[in-house]
C-alpha cells in the first residue's frame, strides 16, 4: 500500500514544474510492484467490505436528500410521496437562512485568509530562519495540535468576554484560525523544506530583499501547500460548531451551525422538530464543501503527498 501511494505521489509530481524535485521524486519512488491478481473469494470479500463501509457512510446522505424534498419528513428514511421544494423556500422565508449563509461564508473566508497569511510566514520561519530553540518551538506547535479544544472551552469563553470578543466575528475568526494553525503550520513547514534554498538565494543575489524573494519566488512554488491550507482552513471554519455556540447568541450574527441548533429546538415539546427544514439547510450547507473539495482535490492529494516528504 505504501509503495502504491509513493508511486501515486511520483506520478502526481510528474505534472509539477519543479524539475529538480521531480527527478528526486522519481529517483526515490520505488518501482511499482506488479499487482498480484486476486482470487474470486478475495475479490468478493474486498468488494463486500467496501460495500458495507460505503452504505454506512451514505445512509445519512440518503436521509438528507429524501427529507429535504419531503414536507412531512421524519427522523426515518422515507422517500417523499410528493417531492416538493417547500422546505427550501421555508428556510429562506421563515428562518432568514440567506443572512445566516452570508455570515458563515464571511467567517469562513476571513478565517481562511488569516490562516493562509499566518501559516505562510510561520511555516517559512520554522523551515528557514535560524531561531534559537527552534526545535522546541516546532514541537510546542505540535503539542498544541494534540490538545482537545473542548478542554479549553471555559477559559476561552471567559477570555472572549473580557476582551469583548463575544458576539463578534473577530472573536470567531481568531478562534477558528487558532484551532487550525498548529497542524497547518507543520504542513507548510514541510512544504518549505522541500523547496530548494538555492532558489531564494538566487533571488537575493538577483537583487531582491528577503521578503520580496519570499513573495515572488518561494510562495508561488508553495502554492499546492497554500491551496491545501486554504481549503482545510475554510472547511474547518465552515464546519466548526462548539465555538459558535459558545461565542454567538445574537440572531443577526448567527452562522449555519446555530441555525441548525435552533431548528432542532422543540421549545419544551410545544413545537415539533422540523426535520425537513434541517435537511434542506444541511443540503445547502454541504454544497460549498463539495465545491471546495472537487475544486481542490487534485491539489490536496498532491499537497498531502508531497508534504509528508518534507517532515
Amino acid at each position: 500500500m505504501t509503495a502504491d501511494l509513493t508511486a501515486v505521489a511520483g506520478a502526481e509530481l510528474a505534472t509539477d514544474q519543479l524539475a529538480t524535485e521531480r527527478l528526486a521524486a522519481r529517483a526515490t519512488a520505488p518501482a511499482p510492484r506488479p499487482k498480484a491478481r486476486a482470487g474470486p473469494l478475495e475479490w468478493i470479500l474486498i468488494h463486500l467490505t467496501f460495500l458495507v463501509v460505503s452504505v454506512f457512510f451514505l445512509v445519512p446522505f440518503v436521509w438528507l436528500l429524501s427529507a429535504a424534498f419531503d414536507a412531512k419528513a421524519t427522523a426515518y428514511i422515507q422517500f417523499p410521496v410528493e417531492p416538493t421544494i417547500m422546505n427550501f423556500v421555508r428556510i429562506f422565508t421563515e428562518h432568514d437562512f440567506g443572512r445566516v449563509l452570508v455570515n458563515s461564508v464571511f467567517v469562513a473566508v476571513a478565517t481562511m485568509i488569516l490562516v493562509v497569511a499566518t501559516v505562510a510566514l510561520a511555516g517559512y520561519s520554522l523551515s528557514r530562519l535560524d531561531l534559537r530553540r527552534k526545535d522546541w518551538i516546532t514541537y510546542a506547535v505540535l503539542l498544541l495540535q494534540t490538545m482537545p479544544i473542548s478542554a479549553t472551552m471555559v477559559p476561552i469563553y471567559g477570555l472572549a468576554r473580557q476582551l469583548g470578543l463575544r458576539n463578534s466575528y473577530l472573536g470567531l475568526i481568531l478562534i477558528h484560525a487558532a484551532i487550525e494553525l498548529p497542524f497547518l503550520i507543520w504542513l507548510m513547514k514541510g512544504f518549505f523544506d522541500s523547496i530548494p534554498r538555492h532558489l531564494e538565494e538566487a533571488a537575493w543575489l538577483d537583487g531582491r530583499s528577503k521578503l520580496r524573494a519570499l513573495v515572488e519566488i518561494v510562495l508561488p512554488l508553495a502554492r499546492p501547500g497554500l491551496g491545501i491550507a486554504a481549503g482545510l482552513a475554510f472547511l474547518s471554519a465552515w464546519a466548526e460548531v462548539l465555538m459558535v455556540v459558545i461565542l454567538i447568541d445574537q440572531d443577526s450574527l448567527k452562522t449555519v451551525p446555530l441555525a441548525f441548533y435552533e431548528a432542532m429546538r422543540t421549545q419544551g415539546g410545544y413545537v415539533e422538530v422540523q426535520y425537513g427544514v434541517i435537511a434542506a439547510m444541511a443540503v445547502i450547507y454541504l454544497l460549498p464543501v463539495m465545491v471546495v473539495f472537487f475544486a481542490a482535490r487534485r491539489l490536496m492529494v498532491r499537497g498531502l503527498m508531497s508534504s509528508t516528504r518534507g517532515l
Binding site: 514544474q17 519543479l18 538565494e201 538566487a202 533571488a203 543575489l205 538577483d206 530583499s209 512554488l221
Partner: protein, 370 residues
C-alpha cells in the same frame, strides 16, 4: 568589474567541530578568472558563499572593489552566482528567468527585452526563451542560468561547480565556452570546482584549498610543476605525481629500492603561497616525480648510471599515451609513456628520472624543499 580580496577570513559552523575556512587571504585582481580548487568539504563553497553574502565570516574582511562587503545583504553586493543546481525559478519561463534581475532593477520593458535578447543570442538560447526550466535539458538550464548571471553585468561572477551536472562531453565543451566568454566580458570570476582538470583548463590562477586552509595559489603551470606541498602534488594531475620515500645522500636522493636520483638544484619558485622549508642536510624526504618525468628505457642495462630496473605491474593504453604501472622497492609508480611503448606485464624495464622534473618534499612537514 572589480578586484576581490579575502583578508584573514575565518568561518566556523555551529554544527561542525573544525572551522570551515581558516584564515583565508586571497587577492584577486580585476579581470582574473580564479579557480578555488579542493576536495569536498575543503571550504571552497563556503568561501564563495561568504563572498556572495549568503554566509557571514566570523572574522576577517572581504572586499570587492576595495570596499568591505561584510554585513552587506546579497542584493547590495552586485555579484552574480551560478549555482550547481542552476536554481532557475521553476514557475518562470527561461525569458523571465533571465529578465528577473533586470525587472528587479526596474529597467524599462524595452531595455529588459533588448538585454535578454542580446544575451540569449550570445549563448545561442533564443529558441528556448518561452520554455520553463522543467522543459529544458541540463545543458540548456545551465545556459539559462549563465544568461541570468551575465545579463545584469555584475562586478563579479561567482560559479559554484556549474559544470558538474553536465555529461562529460558537454562539460568539456562548456568549459571552453566559459573561458572565452569570461575573456570577452572581462569580468572578474571566481569559479569553484573539485575537478583539477577543469581548474587547470579554465584558470588564470588556481587557489588550492584543503581542510579550510589555502595550500597554494598560482598559475596552472605553477601549481602543476611546483606544488607547494604533498597535498597539492597529489591533488593536481591525473595520474597524480608519484611520491617515493627516500633519503638524502650528498647531491642525490636514494629511494627504498636503491634508485639513486640526482637532487634538484635550488630553484626560485614564483607564486607559492607557503614558505618553503629549509633544505635539510640529511634525513627523510619524499621525492615527487610526475608520470611524464620518468623515461622508460628498454632493455635494462645493469651498468647504466641512473637507470633503475622496475617490475611492470600493468599497462593501460589510453590511445594518445600509455600509463605503465611499475613497482620499485615496494613502492608503486605510474609512468606516462609514448603510445607505442608496450612492455609485457611482469617484465622488467629500466626507469630514468628527468633531473629537471624531480621535486623534493620534507617528509615531516610535507612542504616542498627548494
Amino acid at each position: 568589474m572589480a578586484d576581490v580580496e579575502f583578508d584573514e577570513v575565518w568561518k566556523q559552523f555551529a554544527s561542525q567541530t573544525a572551522a570551515a575556512v581558516k584564515g583565508l587571504s586571497l587577492a584577486i585582481p580585476d579581470h582574473e578568472l580564479l579557480v578555488l580548487l579542493g576536495p569536498s568539504g575543503c571550504g571552497k563553497t563556503t568561501a564563495l558563499r561568504m563572498l556572495a553574502g549568503l554566509e557571514e565570516p566570523d572574522s576577517g574582511d572581504i572586499r570587492i572593489g576595495a570596499k568591505s562587503v561584510v554585513g552587506l545583504e546579497p542584493k547590495d553586493r552586485d555579484v552574480a552566482l551560478v549555482f550547481q543546481s542552476y536554481a532557475l525559478y521553476p514557475h518562470l519561463s527561461a525569458h523571465d528567468n533571465i529578465g528577473y534581475p533586470l525587472k528587479v532593477r526596474k529597467l524599462s520593458k524595452a531595455d529588459q527585452e533588448a538585454k535578454v535578447q542580446r544575451v540569449a543570442k550570445m549563448l545561442g538560447i533564443g529558441h528556448l526563451l518561452p520554455r520553463r526550466p522543467g522543459q529544458l535539458s541540463g545543458g540548456e538550464q545551465q545556459r539559462v542560468a549563465l544568461a541570468r548571471a551575465i545579463v545584469r553585468e555584475p562586478r563579479v561572477f561567482l560559479m559554484d561547480e556549474p559544470l558538474s551536472n553536465l555529461d562529460a562531453k558537454l562539460r568539456v565543451h562548456t568549459r571552453t565556452e566559459l573561458k572565452t566568454l569570461q575573456r570577452e566580458l572581462g569580468t572578474t570570476m571566481v569559479f569553484v570546482t573539485h575537478d583539477q582538470a577543469e581548474a587547470m583548463s579554465l584558470a588564470n590562477r588556481i587557489a588550492v584549498l584543503n581542510a579550510g586552509e589555502l595550500q597554494q595559489i598560482g598559475t596552472p603551470d605553477e601549481v602543476y610543476n611546483d606544488p607547494a606541498n604533498l597535498f597539492v602534488a597529489e591533488f593536481i594531475g591525473s595520474p597524480p605525481m608519484n611520491l617515493l620515500e627516500a633519503t638524502r645522500d650528498g647531491d642525490s636522493v636514494v629511494t627504498a629500492g636503491g634508485w639513486r636520483i640526482p637532487a634538484p638544484r635550488e630553484r626560485a619558485v614564483a607564486g607559492s603561497g607557503t614558505v618553503a622549508a629549509p633544505a635539510g642536510s640529511g634525513g627523510a624526504v619524499t621525492v615527487g616525480l610526475r608520470p611524464e618525468g620518468i623515461a622508460v628505457v628498454q632493455p635494462v642495462q645493469d651498468a647504466q648510471d641512473g637507470v633503475q630496473p622496475a617490475a611492470v605491474v600493468a599497462v593501460e593504453p589510453l590511445g594518445s599515451e600509455v600509463i605503465v604501472d611499475v613497482q620499485v622497492g615496494g613502492q608503486s609508480l605510474k609512468i606516462r609513456a609514448a603510445p607505442d611503448v608496450r612492455p609485457e606485464s611482469g617484465s622488467m624495464i629500466g626507469l630514468r628520472a628527468d633531473p629537471t622534473a624531480v621535486r623534493l618534499f620534507d617528509r615531516a612537514t610535507g612542504l616542498a624543499i627548494h
